[in-house]
């Protein structure tokens, strides 16, 4: 079936099987490998992207479900002037070690700040519960998200 998605501002179309997951559409069809796959159970959040501005786990959506939608991946976050404020905050706060969870973590954090006003550290921890990091212990991730929100 033909699936057209506006990915990072550009309309992309491809003929895919209905069972194609969005994450495979992004990685294997479009070659956007910044979106990672970390688990088989919709638990880890490494594949988080924005669909129409809100975080979604691209392993838990069929590409067909987002036909016609706007999708933003980590590759589309930085602007012409450089890193997105959330990316800059992750850099400055040393919010990553191995970096595998980082694309999903950043996308989830961008959505989180957009969705919840005046969020505090506890709110960030709860709000990122769908994104697992096995390196950092989360402390600097929380610091980065709060810094980006200021």
């Amino acid at each position: 079936m033909e699936v057209s998605v506006t990915v990072n501002g550009t309309v992309r179309s491809a003929d895919v099987e209905p069972r194609t997951l969005l994450v495979h559409y992004l990685r294997d069809v479009l070659g956007l490998t910044g979106t990672n796959i970390g688990c088989d159970t919709s638990s880890c959040g490494a594949c988080t992207v924005l669909v129409d501005g809100r975080s979604a786990k691209s392993c838990t959506l069929l590409a067909a479900q987002v036909d016609g939608a706007d999708v933003t991946t980590i590759e589309g976050l930085a602007g012409p002037d450089g890193l997105h404020p959330m990316q800059q905050a992750f850099h400055e706060c040393h919010a990553l070690q191995c970096g595998y969870c980082t694309p999903g973590m950043v996308m989830a954090a961008v959505s989180l700040l957009d969705e919840y006003d005046d969020i505090d550290a506890d709110g960030v921890r709860v709000g990122l519960e769908g994104n697992l990091c096995r390196c950092t212990g989360y402390q600097n991730i929380v610091a980065a998200v709060l810094a980006a929100g200021e």
Partner: protein, 271 residues
């Protein structure tokens, strides 16, 4: 993993979805937000032959309040329930429980109707609708019918919906009396090991993950109605249940949790 091969039909109306269901038979599955179904398909625990995507039926989404009844379209997302000022005023329990489901990304896509139709005894929202004494509206080839929440959950992941029926709406009474949801889990984002929902200061009490279906704790409700203390009423919370044993907890521990959480929830709800 990659789901098994499947055919895909995009429904442009409820009638079209029902017609596709009728034609495809019981090998078809309705796809709403997909937050329960797609994970099962990835594990190949679900291998439908046809997916009928109802996710674009915008007229099945929304919250309206008429008198004493809150009507919620089946495709209303958990996130929409969580952020609705109208729902927070008319039925704060349901808005709160919706905010406890999964994580934000799941709540952006997952739907109330999908959660109910999936009928997972470990899910949050089915027990909330049960405690509130809600009513579900199903549409099929012969028209629509109402199903009381107490009659809806018939077995593990099984509901009273017929193979050619579509859940279109969920109705709950306006409910601003004392309420509480006690969700016990050890890991963030996880399903409840046990959960207890209390509505209207103990008039409605329902249990999460204490059997093959979400359960109404009618013994607790009767005790509260008879004037029992929260502790005395909670003592019968696990009576008549057959809680599962799994990696998280054995049945005896779940029964203990049900009593403890029920007492906490009743106390918080002012029972």
């Amino acid at each position: 993993m990659i789901p098994a091969a499947v055919d895909y039909v995009l429904a442009d109306s409820a009638e079209a979805a029902i017609a596709a269901l009728t034609e495809a038979g019981d090998e078809a599955k309705l796809l709403a937000g997909g937050q329960s179904l797609v994970p099962l398909m990835r594990l190949r625990l679900a291998t439908p032959s046809v997916l009928i995507d109802i996710g674009r039926l915008d007229d099945l989404s929304g919250i309206s309040i008429d008198g004493d009844t809150v009507s919620i379209g089946a495709l209303t997302t958990h996130s929409a329930l969580e952020h609705s000022a109208d729902l927070a005023a008319a039925c704060p329990l349901l808005a709160h429980v919706a905010a406890q489901v999964g994580d934000p990304a799941v709540r952006h896509r997952g739907t109330l109707g999908g959660s109910l139709a999936h009928a997972d005894p470990a899910s949050d929202l089915p027990a909330a609708v049960l405690a509130l004494g809600g009513t579900l509206v199903a549409s099929g080839p012969g028209g629509s019918r109402e199903i009381a929440a107490t009659d809806f959950f018939t077995g593990f992941l099984e509901s009273a919906l017929g193979p050619d029926e579509l859940l279109t709406e969920v109705r709950v009474p306006v409910s601003t009396g004392g309420w509480c949801y006690q969700k016990f889990n050890r890991r963030a984002q996880d399903w409840a090991i046990v959960g207890v929902v209390v509505a209207e200061a103990g008039a409605g009490v329902a249990l999460v993950n204490m059997g093959s279906t979400p359960l109404r704790a009618s013994g607790v409700e009767a005790a509260v109605a008879g004037g029992a203390s929260a502790g005395d009423a909670a003592a019968v919370a696990a009576d008549g249940t057959e809680p599962p044993t799994d990696n998280n907890a054995d049945g005896d521990y779940r029964a203990h949790l049900a009593r403890v959480l029920t007492e906490r929830a009743l106390t918080a709800a002012g029972a």
